[in-house]
Symmetry: C2
Subunit: 462 residues, 2 copies
């Protein structure tokens, strides 16, 4: 490992987990991979893809390509992988690998790193194989939701987001008394989770803007996105058996981006007393790449620094390791491009940039809280962080906050105004990690275009 120009990792425990796969100078024989902004050889995110007429397969992103794990294993290029890891890598989803847990991800990462390097025996051998047998171009295949998601849970872990939203609905009492004690979360809908690139239809629903009138049924007028980080569960726990905070990260397989599309007017009308339902469950978009916790080792960060007067986490949510390195230093951005912007050849405009280090609760705390009552988590379950907003205006992770409930519209380069999303708007979320002395790694894109509402038929009219 080279030490040139490297700042010490903020977390000593993470430091000890750095290995040869993180070394910034690694050269990869896949063209363009070494300097790729998202998928250099230090990242090696997992995905599930399919080509027309073929069954889904597990792959690893490298540069603009995917390393096809079934093909690699069939070609005898990963013979040192433990047999269970090899079998799981040949499955149709990541659930089998997630069931084997983080050690499987680590074994696979090491094997893939050796295979893709220019300076290893494995790399020289792999280069002798016809590349078209084991590499597929990302733009030639379809990237799928990478796991069969049994349950999807959405948290609310940004205190900035919670305070902003709370102050719109309850100006006197923006942050509820439980917020700084309880990692607030709720169950979302698994069936409507779609992969990046899936167009999302504007939903209809009951709206009531005027409390003196009956509600109407109409397409939502306040369609919004929420920028979130998702975590896939590894291993899991039996029903009735909590997961201690010290072991929580053994159950975090890897991270992705999540767009928790939201219909704010539907939400306002329906959400009491049992929480959001139809305002959220019409679609949730995930990015297709699972950036493993091992890839993220160089980018670990302390947990949120609580303010003077904030309570300490209760003991079941507290650990020294969580405090010193439970965070992830991830930068997240949201970009919007309207139909008119596309027509006029204008690039997408950035709406926000925020940092995942600003979350009040760590992913480990969310997971431990989730299982603290004995609730069983299963491999492939998805836990989302809630909207990643920061303290500044340009760090707000949804339009509800950015336009302050629509009252402060954003002006696009075409002169169009945006209070909420319009039909034809395309939204792209991106995220990456960078740090002096390490290769930058990225999450790819979480993309979705808004389609007009379905044709009105009599059963849907108000």
């Amino acid at each position: 490992m080279t030490d040139e120009g490297r700042t010490p990792p903020p977390d000593p425990a993470a430091e000890s987990r750095l290995d040869d796969t993180h070394r910034p100078g690694l050269e990869c024989w896949v063209e363009g991979a070494s300097k790729h902004p998202d998928f250099p050889i230090q990242n090696l995110p997992l995905c599930v893809f399919d080509a027309p007429g073929e069954a889904p397969r597990v792959g690893i992103g490298i540069g603009d390509m995917i390393l096809d794990l079934s093909a690699v294993i069939d070609a005898g290029l990963m013979d040192t992988l433990p047999p269970d890891v090899a079998a799981a890598s040949r499955d149709r989803s990541l659930n089998a690998l997630m069931a084997l847990g983080r050690p499987a991800a680590r074994a696979l990462r090491r094997a893939a790193s050796l295979l893709l390097r220019t300076d290893t025996e494995e790399g020289r051998f792999a280069r002798g194989v016809d590349a078209s047998r084991i590499l597929v171009a990302q733009d030639q295949v379809r990237l799928l939701v990478p796991a069969v998601i049994g349950d999807y849970t959405d948290f609310y872990a940004s205190v900035y987001h919670a305070t902003n939203v709370g102050s719109m609905f309850r100006p006197d009492n923006p942050l509820l008394p439980n917020y700084k004690w309880v990692p607030i979360g709720y169950h979302g809908r698994a069936s409507s989770i779609v992969p990046s690139g899936t167009a999302v239809r504007r939903p209809r629903g009951q709206l009531r803007d005027d409390p003196s009138q009956p509600p109407v049924v109409a397409p939502t007028r306040r369609l919004d996105y929420e920028l979130e980080v998702g975590a896939f569960v590894a291993g899991g726990n039996a029903l009735g058996e909590p997961i201690p905070i010290d072991r929580a990260e053994e159950h975090l397989f890897g991270l992705c981006l999540v767009n928790d599309w939201s219909a704010r007017d539907m939400q306002t009308w329906e959400y009491q007393p049992l929480g959001p339902f139809l305002a959220k469950n019409f679609a949730t978009t995930v990015s297709p790449w699972v950036v493993t916790l091992d890839a993220l080792v160089p980018f670990r960060a302390p947990a949120f620094a609580r303010a003077e007067g904030d309570p300490s986490p209760l003991p079941y949510l507290a650990s020294g390791e969580n405090e010193s390195g439970g965070g992830f230093d991830i930068t997240l951005e949201v970009h919007l491009r309207s139909a008119k912007m596309r027509d006029e050849g204008k690039e997408a405009v950035r709406l926000s940039r925020s940092q995942f280090t600003g979350m009040y609760w760590t992913l480990a705390q969310m997971l431990t809280h989730h299982a603290s009552n004995g609730c069983n988590l299963r491999p492939g379950d998805l836990i989302a962080s809630g909207t990643v907003s920061g303290p500044e205006k340009d760090q707000r992770g949804c339009l509800l906050e950015l336009t302050w409930r629509g009252g402060e519209p954003i002006t696009l380069p075409t002169g169009e105004e945006r209070r909420f999303l319009e039909d034809g708007d395309e939204l792209v979320m991106r995220a990456w990690c960078e740090r002096d002395g390490f290769a930058r790694i990225g999450f790819g894109e979480c993309r979705g275009e808004v389609l007009p509402p379905e044709r009105r038929d009599s059963s849907q009219s108000s």
Copy 2:
């Protein structure tokens, strides 16, 4: 069909769906089945069971036995079944049958009825087969959760329950303004759904009885049950495609009982603003028998009669058929037996008896509302009704209501008092349908005993 003593069905549409399988005089060759209170030949509920060391199989309840569909089909006793229905009947869960939809259930019901009757060719042929090949005693096998439940949604459809609970938390404003317009529901946890008979461990969680003090982590002191009816989804809909109310019942495969265990103190502290989470997701018990909508044809009832001044359902939730026959006349009971009652040889005591006809929303309305924004429902998804409470005190479907938040304890025959559930309490829910001129059919039991909390370890202490 005999007309002796029969009152006309309340719903003309249901009348037209009555067929030979509902005839009250049918004789069944399985011993004791003809007079069985729950599972006479007119019921034929589906289940999934396994014997030690064997794979799960689909069965049909008849008397105290299960008709093993794999064995029946292998023995050539249902050769007239459509091949896809026969294949689905040999699966390990009911999902394949549910995917084929209600016509598959109907075909299977007719075939099973003919096979089990004493007066048919099929019945005579089946009696010639060694019964031990095709029938299994219910008490010799394990009854499982009958479907792989992709998503579980819990509604809140009893206006009596909502008003009671609301008046405890918001005395001035018990029923929120959305209640009579929106079938309120939220997403529950699929992973922790367990079959009847599974013991349920008292969960730990954050509790805050005294708002001037920090919360503590302790086993819930207010463990409760909720008596509900569950509906399994048949067929399903594509993402983005609502299900019109006129077609909703094509997507209801069959019903079961649901105990939505609840930790009221955890719920009070955590539920704002995103709804119940850990207070509910530690366990949900379902009865193992799926009573099909065809079995329930004689017991259809009008939808809830809204009071003067209540709004009419919005058009997307309204149909003449729903109004005249969207309800189900099901009687539900909850019985409790404490450890001391068992020790003293005392029978369980009945806590409540309520009617499913008293629900403000029909199951068809819940399903159509659920899909009205385009949310996709999948075969095997579970939709629960919410607590089935009626207007009278002895019709309240949970202890929160029965003891009015613990303030009016119930006295058991042993002299013990119950405000909420105690360790060792066993709870049994039962339900049935009866009507003059038809055979009574039942739902079997939804049973669960409360176990003491898991041993406290350091990571869980407060």
